[in-house]
Symmetry: none
Subunit: 413 residues, 2 copies
């Protein structure tokens, strides 16, 4: 069977920069392998969501995987939870949390607990024994993320995501009382659970050995949990069921792995990857080549994150050079794959001038055995706008790939 | 902050004409400033609503401002009412009306009251004192428009726009009895109000001094009001709230000013503008430049109407020359603006051969600090089809502009 790859260079798209003679970093970069792929493929530009809409990496990837982000993106909570590896279930209510520092009156004195770096795993082990007397049937699941971050998942009957945040935003205040955002009993119940849970978290971990040690060392203890960003985990059909594929996600960051888990993809772990421009591109390359050649997976979502980081940081040279490194290390090998459809693109633009995502479209190449090759021979935002795909949307990607791979079915007779 | 302009040359798009060597008027016109803007910008073609759909100027402008015309365009009534300056409220039922001439049996003898040119303002003053005994809580608001045209707004509880027209269409008939178009009490009530109102209008103004004078002079009196085109004023979010801008509308015609009012934009009045090819383009230009440079407004909708009029009238030479005049007088100054995004386009095509609107797409230029400049150097229907924007829709315009101006927010993380 034919295999297919959607390879996303996170945030690679950009706007013309004076510093680069009015070129984008991708235009300025020396990318012989990507240019060869453009020459051998069909090109175009893509709006991950719609023209001018600024996607997050999460909403962009959802759209590219064929999910309507306006329907399934219920908030950060569920996707963060997915990303850090909690097996969320449809109907679960998920939250992003901070480990914070509170005093005995529950006044928050440091929202990020001194940007705690280690020990949260041990604290979470204690928090995960939490039971609320008033709500014995509600399962409470905590999971630490990076630094002071964590997620919280509530599981049980009669819950709602229509609740406000506990985050006081400004230090020197108590956690905000969580309130129901509609008149439903479910929202009132969930708000009450959260208010009890915040207080109880303090009681349970204020004297945790990790925290006693931090206090001894003059560090703010991670002694309270502050949830925000409630979202109900949506019910969706898995990618494998929807498109009859056996899919895998190869990504560096929790956010994208979370999207992969959400879509029911197998997650391929990699060593030594950072999500930054210092990541180990050799490992990423070898993982891709190994998976494509030796695994049963036939469809891959791959995300390489460094260009986005450089864009957020406004680093022109670093963004350009990272793109060149990907071309040299990764694309040089991918271009040797035969009988594989490769869809090369970005999830969104992260212009150096904006230092954040923008709604500018991204360039696309599809290279594979039977594409209608156009005359574009360069991979860039400007060159690909003249390509044979014209302007397509993220929501078209899976349909186009499945069609080319001959996995799709006719609609009608 | 960055400013943005959407400048619409009404009805400028066209089809190739034998008389112009198979060029469109825009292709044939000498437009050095617009061509320079094309060279410095990114170009494309746009379907104001969707490919092949023939927009009105109103529905096209609604779409370009980010409103779905299929949802908000409830009929001509509300937009005409807005256009002539009635402060309509959501829930009001608005109608277009004719001043007509009726005899004492209420037989309509002239649907347009001899195309009456003056005096309707005085007649409306009397009509605006109308109260219906059966419906004391319903507020009845008349407002004269140009010539024999007027609008009627009904305000109060329990009204509906599901009512038929009173217009008999053919002279020699009584006004049609207005009927409820559904089974609701609201529609029945509204129909009854209109039937009473038509009769009462005759009683109130048949002996109005303006009419007595017209009869004396052998002119048909404007002695009855015939409503049609019922529409409920929709509830919409203002442009300023939706996009966090401070917006203004610079337009020549009531129709477009009505769209601006509908969107909650500030309306900038101009002297000596006609909406035709004889309009004062210097005043339009000076108003634009003054507003962009000296006002607090950061987003502008500008409409210049002459090319549409020439299209409706089938005047090839006049259409081409008007485009050239706009280029020479207006664009020559706009092109000097820096740190301003200019979106130059038409709302629809008004082909000379059709003498009415068509569904052909219109050319687009976006010129501004950070656009991805393409290699199109001419502003025309054909040249811009090769541009870097490819083919977009009216509904994309605000999103693209807000993204470029960095006013937009990310959806997701």
């Amino acid at each position: 069977m034919m295999k297919g790859i959607v390879l996303i260079m996170d945030g690679m798209g950009d706007r013309p920069l004076k510093e680069l003679d009015n070129q984008t970093p991708l235009q300025a970069a020396n990318t012989p392998n990507m240019d060869k792929m453009a020459a051998e493929g069909i090109t175009g530009i893509m709006d991950s969501i719609a023209p001018g809409i600024i996607p997050g990496s999460d909403t962009a990837h959802l759209s590219i995987l064929g999910y309507n982000p306006y329907e399934v993106y219920t908030g950060r909570g569920p996707f963060e939870a997915n990303g850090v590896g909690v097996d969320v279930l449809p109907g679960d209510i998920a939250f992003r949390c901070n480990f914070s520092t509170a005093d005995e009156d529950l006044i928050v004195t440091d929202r990020r607990a001194g940007r705690i770096k280690s020990g949260t795993k041990e604290i979470v082990e204690v928090l995960n024994t939490m039971k609320l007397e008033d709500y014995p049937d509600i399962k409470i699941i905590f999971k630490e993320s990076t630094g002071h971050r964590a997620v919280l998942v509530l599981r049980g009957e009669g819950l709602s995501d229509k609740v406000s945040d506990a985050d006081p935003k400004v230090e020197g205040n108590k956690p905000k009382e969580v309130k129901a955002l509609d008149d439903s009993e479910e929202a009132k119940k969930t708000a009450d659970i959260l208010n009890q849970l915040v207080k109880k978290s303090y009681e349970m971990v204020k004297d945790h050995p990790v925290n006693l040690k931090r206090i001894e060392e003059g560090e703010p203890p991670a002694n309270i949990i502050i949830p925000r960003g409630a979202g109900e985990v949506p019910v969706v059909e898995s990618l494998n069921d929807k498109y009859e594929v056996n899919s895998a996600c190869i990504a560096e960051t929790g956010l994208i792995m979370g999207i992969g888990r959400f879509a029911g993809m197998d997650i391929i772990e990699m060593e030594d990857v950072t999500g930054g421009i210092d990541t180990n591109l050799y490992n990423i390359r070898d993982t891709i080549i190994d998976q494509v050649k030796n695994s049963d997976h036939d469809f891959f979502l791959i995300n390489i994150d460094g260009a986005d980081e450089a864009g957020h940081d406004g680093q022109i040279k670093e963004k350009k050079e990272f793109i060149e490194k990907v071309d040299e290390i990764v694309m040089s090998e991918l271009i040797k794959l035969e009988d594989v459809y490769i869809y090369l693109t970005a999830d969104h633009s992260t212009p150096i001038s904006v230092k954040n995502h923008s709604g500018d479209p991204v360039p696309v190449i599809i290279r594979g055995p039977e594409v209608r090759v156009d005359d574009v021979c360069e991979f860039s935002e400007v060159a690909c706008a003249k390509g044979g795909l014209n302007r397509i949307r993220g929501s078209d990607v899976m349909n186009i790939m499945m069609d080319l791979m001959n996995y799709a079915h006719k609609f009608g007779a």
